[in-house]
């Protein structure tokens, strides 16, 4: 039986694809070795359906804001690149006219316009960043936190384009040399992935409040927005609050008392 070179190459190529594909398929479809019953939650963990925050600007001064920012960036090994191009920040200060563009007026006092606000990821209930992520590397947890999976992020930065609040940062280069003192109990990131505030999910898991909330001396009220009896709901019911760019429909979970 003679076979032409072309036929031979065709058969060889098809066999290779079937062989490799078959092996991968078996690998993927094999049952796993671990049972779901092997997992538990820490009994001390804080449980909520939709975590949120009220930032009472009346109670925040510049020194406390700096403490909140430093605490967050320190325990999460956030690098300090020292230039606005590569900058990575999870929580920072922004003036009123820049944090709430369109809300300022020409007759507003300079003091109000330049009043410093603490801004961070708004942990939206309808997050556009989650909608656009092609790998679900950023996703919404059942407790409302918009989470980052650094292992899965491919660094496409679609989420950064989608976020209306500029809350996300990208590691344009290796961050390790720029982390002042490493917190050994939390990983750093590597170059090529996006990061942002994740509402201290690792602290919530062991019963602690987020670091910025702890440092804020009561200016940051943290709680479960879905629980009508929570302190945060009482505050929201009594006081007038504003949210950043709420007209865009992303439903932010961070409220401000001015």
């Amino acid at each position: 039986m003679s076979i032409s070179r072309r036929e031979f190459l065709k058969i060889a190529g098809a066999s290779a694809i079937v062989g490799l594909g078959g092996i991968s398929a078996i690998d993927i479809l094999l049952p796993g070795q671990f049972e779901a019953s092997q997992l538990e939650k820490n009994p001390k963990a804080l449980i909520g359906k939709r975590w949120g925050m009220v930032i009472d600007m009346k109670k925040l001064d510049e020194e406390t804001m700096k403490k909140c920012i430093d605490a967050c960036h320190r325990i999460h090994n956030v690098p300090n690149f020292g230039n606005p191009k590569d900058e990575v920040k999870w929580i920072w200060k922004e003036t009123f006219e820049h944090a709430f563009p369109g809300q300022e007026s020409e007759y507003m006092g300079e003091g109000m316009k330049n009043m410093p606000f603490l801004v961070l990821c708004n942990q939206c209930d309808n997050p556009p960043c989650v909608r656009v992520c092609p790998t679900k590397a950023t996703f919404k947890r059942s407790d409302g936190i918009v989470m980052m999976d650094m292992h899965r992020c491919i660094g496409c930065r679609f989420c950064m384009a989608a976020c209306p609040f500029g809350a996300r940062s990208f590691n344009w280069r290796d961050p390790r040399p720029f982390v002042k003192e490493e917190n050994k109990e939390y990983p750093t990131r590597t170059k090529g992935v996006v990061e942002k505030c994740t509402l201290c999910y690792e602290r919530l898991a062991v019963g602690l409040k987020p670091a910025c909330v702890e440092e804020s001396k009561g200016a940051l009220i943290f709680g479960d927005l879905a629980d009508p009896t929570s302190e945060i709901r009482k505050v929201l019911g009594l006081r007038y609050t504003i949210r950043r760019k709420s007209e865009l429909g992303t439903n932010p979970s961070v409220y401000y008392i001015i």
Binding site: I154, R173, G192
Partner: protein, 395 residues
């Protein structure tokens, strides 16, 4: 048929090695980027997409433009395009390859690229973009290769290719619409948040793509014996004319909505691009050059006596191509990020490594194009007569 690509004149091999050199330089710079990180480019926390994604956006349009030749021929039997359907499809293939390469070099973690396939996310437009781009590449390879192979054997293409041709025709607008959706569904970027973004993309695709096909037809006619045909080139010229008119009109519509409504979120990016904002205006000369070239091209194209002159048509096509390359490959992407969500201006400009990597990817595209066109023109030179019995080679 691939063996046709290894037999060529000195000029052909000179071109191949020149392109390989450009690719090599780009590759070395890419290694630098791979080890240092994307910070080697001009992108920043505020302008997080730049030249690479801009080139991808522009090239998706060029790739889709093959449909402007294939649709009239297969759906409406426009015989004059019979000789150049393969030419158009063989432009779509390197264009899509370049699109995928630009996405690849733009990724922060390129080794994890398979995550997009391993964790499919139907709500993400980028997931669909990957699907439609891969599909389009496959259809064009299949259709172009089969049709050319049939021409080489001297007979009609096999009947089973017809449904794939129709699929490819319907698929072509989709790659462009999906790419436009990457931009037009983002709530925080008012420069992009426009319903006609997808329509603008189609109009600019059908101007820039066919104008490149016209230029390539002139080059092919000059350097090979294959003659694409005067009428085909003129028909393409008419397509570019109408598409460019619509494209410029659409841009005008965007200007109207922004400046008549005076909403700052809409006007500020335009002011940044065309006048400068807060003292920053790096892109102003580029946007105006793009505008001037567009208007020059329109004047040359709209007047039939001028359009019929092939030199003028060539100049007009080059103008269209470069004007849209600047507008879509640079202005569109940067404009969405400036000013940033805090209404601050942080500018962007590509760096040297970024430029060389970009050149390297274009080099790969042109290499694939050269090889494919060598094969196609060799087959057609040998066939001498096209399927309508007309001579398609110059003596």
């Amino acid at each position: 048929m691939l063996e046709l690509a290894i037999k060529g004149s000195r000029k052909y091999w000179g071109l191949i090695f020149f392109l390989l050199a450009i690719i090599g330089i780009g590759f070395i710079f890419y290694l630098k980027q791979f080890s240092y990180g994307l910070g080697i480019t001009g992108m920043s926390r505020d302008v997080s997409w730049g030249f690479y994604i801009g080139q991808f956006t522009f090239l998706v349009g060029v790739a889709a433009a093959a449909v402007m030749v294939v649709l009239p021929y297969y759906l409406h039997n426009y015989k004059k395009f019979g000789r150049i359907t393969v030419i158009a499809e063989f432009l779509a293939i390197p264009s899509v390859i370049m699109c995928m390469l630009f996405i690849f070099v733009d990724m922060g973690q390129p080794t994890r690229v398979l995550n997009v396939l391993l964790h499919p996310t139907p709500n993400s437009v980028m997931f669909f973009d990957m699907l439609v781009l891969s599909g389009y590449l496959f259809w064009n390879l299949l259709v172009g290769w089969t049709v050319l192979g049939a021409e080489r054997k001297g007979g009609p293409p096999p009947a089973w290719i017809k449904p794939f041709i129709y699929i490819a025709i319907a698929w072509a607008p989709s790659i462009h619409i999906v790419t436009a959706f990457l931009y037009s569904g983002l709530p925080g970027r008012h420069f992009w948040l426009s319903a006609i973004m997808a329509a603008r993309f189609l109009a600019s695709a059908f101007s820039s793509g066919p104008s490149l096909i016209i230029i390539l037809c002139f080059i092919v006619r000059r350097f090979t014996k294959f003659d694409p045909g005067k009428e085909a080139i003129q028909a393409l010229g008419k397509i570019v004319t109408y598409a460019m008119i619509i494209n410029v009109l659409f841009l005008g519509f965007e200007f109207f909505t922004a400046f008549y409504s005076t909403i700052p979120g809409h006007t500020h990016p335009f002011i940044y691009l065309y006048k400068g904002l807060d003292g920053h205006g790096k892109l102003v000369p580029i946007m105006w050059l793009s505008t001037i070239l567009s208007l020059l091209a329109l004047i040359l194209l709209v007047i039939p006596q001028i359009r019929r002159n092939e030199t003028a048509l060539g100049i007009a096509s080059l103008s269209v191509f470069f004007a849209l390359w600047m507008d879509k490959g640079f202005g569109l992407v940067v404009g969405g990020f400036v000013p940033n969500p805090f209404e601050r201006v942080f500018e962007y400009w590509p760096t040297k490594p970024e430029a060389f990597i970009t050149l390297g990817v274009w080099g790969i595209g042109f290499l694939v194009l050269t090889i494919l066109y060598k094969i196609a023109t060799s087959v057609k030179e040998e066939a001498v007569f096209d399927k309508y019995g007309e001579k398609q080679v110059r003596t």
